[in-house]
């Protein structure tokens, strides 16, 4: 069923009786060509592109709970491609381009809103680093713009520029950055994948991999064995748990990142803004909630909840730059499990087991990567070679000393 304004009107006039489930609820088949483990944003995007771009007909996504229940539905919805390093920037720019055409590709309005993202600069050293980054973005074909304090004040007149502990000295903007309605991304990919024949199997947890002579033959699940020529794993924060079933240890830790939303407010923030001298970034959703976050709690956790110090740290950052937010109320806080890798960059690679592929290590940047991650993983699964924008995301880069460390924090995941 195609969605359209016409269809909405027609259904409204006929009692909404014609709407069909957005995706089927199929019984798992015994054998697929490709099984994608993980019905989050990345897994569903992978399935969509496998079916639509790479002509794979027999694909299943298996999800232990309900699709879209992990980080794709628990993030601050930001998209951007303002990366520095060669290994990253082309990939994220590719992702941004896919975002720009997502709705037409999926026939689903995920509300991609290129409201712009602004990183504030508070020191000369930061200006130098952001200049280098902005140049890297432009040299990679992305957009970047350096803004003066005056430019920024015009856009955000209520920013604290008078009494700031760390004065604002400018900002690096990416006008094509913005936000997307996160749940809609999962649902849009799911609906499209389903319409291209992908089986989306919910409430089906992987309990093991069937590996014979170093070759992965499929997955054992709570709904029985499901055979596959290739198995691709995209389970974000649960990567270490899943891959341990294949006796793999990964270069990553799972950490909790909290995010926050305020009560609904009439529009105040036009775009995404990031504080450079504390831990705070913020945008405003179409519903009016301020969506904001900051740093990790800092300790390994699978609990999907955090503690007060991180909340306070973020709100202190909020008040430092927007003292007018004092009387806005924080409505809800939640925590996601971040697959924090050892250099802050992801892995999209084959494993040492034939037929077993891995996608993970997205840290807290997985949402914006969703389209490119799905595309690149689909490329790898379909063609057995990495997508040109994702060639650096290899497992062996740590052993070889080819880390992709945007923040320069080294092998301590909670610092990325």
């Amino acid at each position: 069923m195609r969605y359209s304004a016409f269809r909405v009107i027609k259904e409204a006039l006929t009692g909404h009786k014609g709407w069909k489930p957005a995706w089927r609820d199929p019984v798992p088949a015994a054998q697929y060509d490709i099984v994608v483990v993980g019905g989050g944003g990345h897994g569903l995007a992978t399935a969509h592109y496998l079916a639509k771009e790479f002509g794979q007909a027999r694909v299943a996504v298996i999800e232990k709970g309900w699709i879209g229940g992990g980080n794709v539905g628990r993030n601050t919805t930001i998209i951007r491609s303002n990366y520095l390093l060669d290994g990253n920037e082309p990939f994220y720019e590719f992702s941004l381009k896919l975002w720009e055409n997502l709705e037409q590709d999926l026939n689903y309005n995920a509300m991609v809103s290129q409201r712009g993202i602004l990183n504030l600069i508070h020191s000369d050293g930061q200006r130098d680093a952001f200049t280098r980054r902005g140049n890297a973005m432009i040299l990679n074909g992305a957009d970047a713009d350096i803004l003066s304090t005056e430019d920024i004040k015009k856009r955000y007149p209520f920013l604290n520029t008078d009494d700031a502990r760390f004065p604002i000295k400018g900002g690096l903007a990416q006008h094509r950055g913005g936000t997307v309605r996160h749940d809609a991304v999962a649902w849009g990919y799911a609906r499209s994948a389903d319409s291209h024949g992908v089986d989306i199997i919910q409430n089906c947890e992987v309990t093991g991999f069937r590996i014979e002579d170093g070759v992965c033959k499929g997955v054992e699940t709570t709904r029985g064995f499901i055979g596959a020529k290739k198995v691709g794993c995209a389970v974000a924060g649960n990567s270490s748990r899943l891959m341990a079933l294949a006796n793999m240890r990964l270069p990553m830790e799972s950490h909790v990142l909290q995010a926050f939303v305020s009560e609904g407010l009439k529009p105040v923030l036009p775009g995404v803004i990031t504080f450079g001298a504390g831990h705070f970034y913020c945008s405003q959703s179409d519903k009016g909630g301020l969506v904001f976050g900051g740093d990790l709690d800092g300790y390994n956790s699978y609990a999907q909840r955090g503690n007060l110090p991180a909340v306070e740290d973020v709100c202190e950052g909020a008040m430092a730059i927007f003292p007018m937010l004092g009387r806005a109320r924080l409505l809800r806080m939640w925590g996601g499990i971040m697959d924090m890798s050892m250099d802050g960059s992801p892995i999209i690679d084959k494993t040492h087991i034939d037929g077993l592929y891995f996608n993970g290590g997205w840290c807290y940047g997985g949402f914006k990567a969703t389209p490119a991650s799905g595309f690149a993983f689909a490329h790898l699964l379909a063609k057995d070679e990495p997508h040109p924008t994702a060639t650096a995301y290899r497992f062996d880069r740590f052993e070889k000393g080819r880390m992709i460390d945007e923040k320069g924090m080294g092998n301590q995941p909670n610092l990325h």
Partner: protein
């Protein structure tokens, strides 16, 4: 969270700085023939369990002790807290 410091008693985890898996105390022998592989494993690979995890916390705003905390990463329950220097000695480090 509350970390029950072996010397100081219960202290808020906000006083501490977290480093990660206590395996980081098991620094490999740099002179072993497989040192390169051993250091790669040591520096980069993690069990990252969903469950009990032995991990290093530094009492930065306290007595400056490194502690080995055994904590459940699913429930955050803490079952043991030891001084890292005691653990290191017990493991034969000098």
């Amino acid at each position: 969270m509350i970390i029950n410091h072996p010397l100081l008693g219960p202290r808020d985890s906000a006083e501490f700085t977290y480093m990660g898996d206590a395996r980081l105390m098991d620094r490999p022998d740099p002179d072993a023939p497989d040192a390169a592989a051993a250091f790669y494993d040591y520096a980069y690979l993690r069990d990252n369990p969903a469950g009990w995890h032995r991990e290093l916390w530094f009492h930065e705003a306290g007595d400056r002790s490194w502690l080995v905390v055994t904590r459940n990463t699913v429930t955050h329950e803490i079952s043991a807290v030891e001084l890292a220097s005691d653990v290191a000695r017990a493991q034969g480090r000098t």
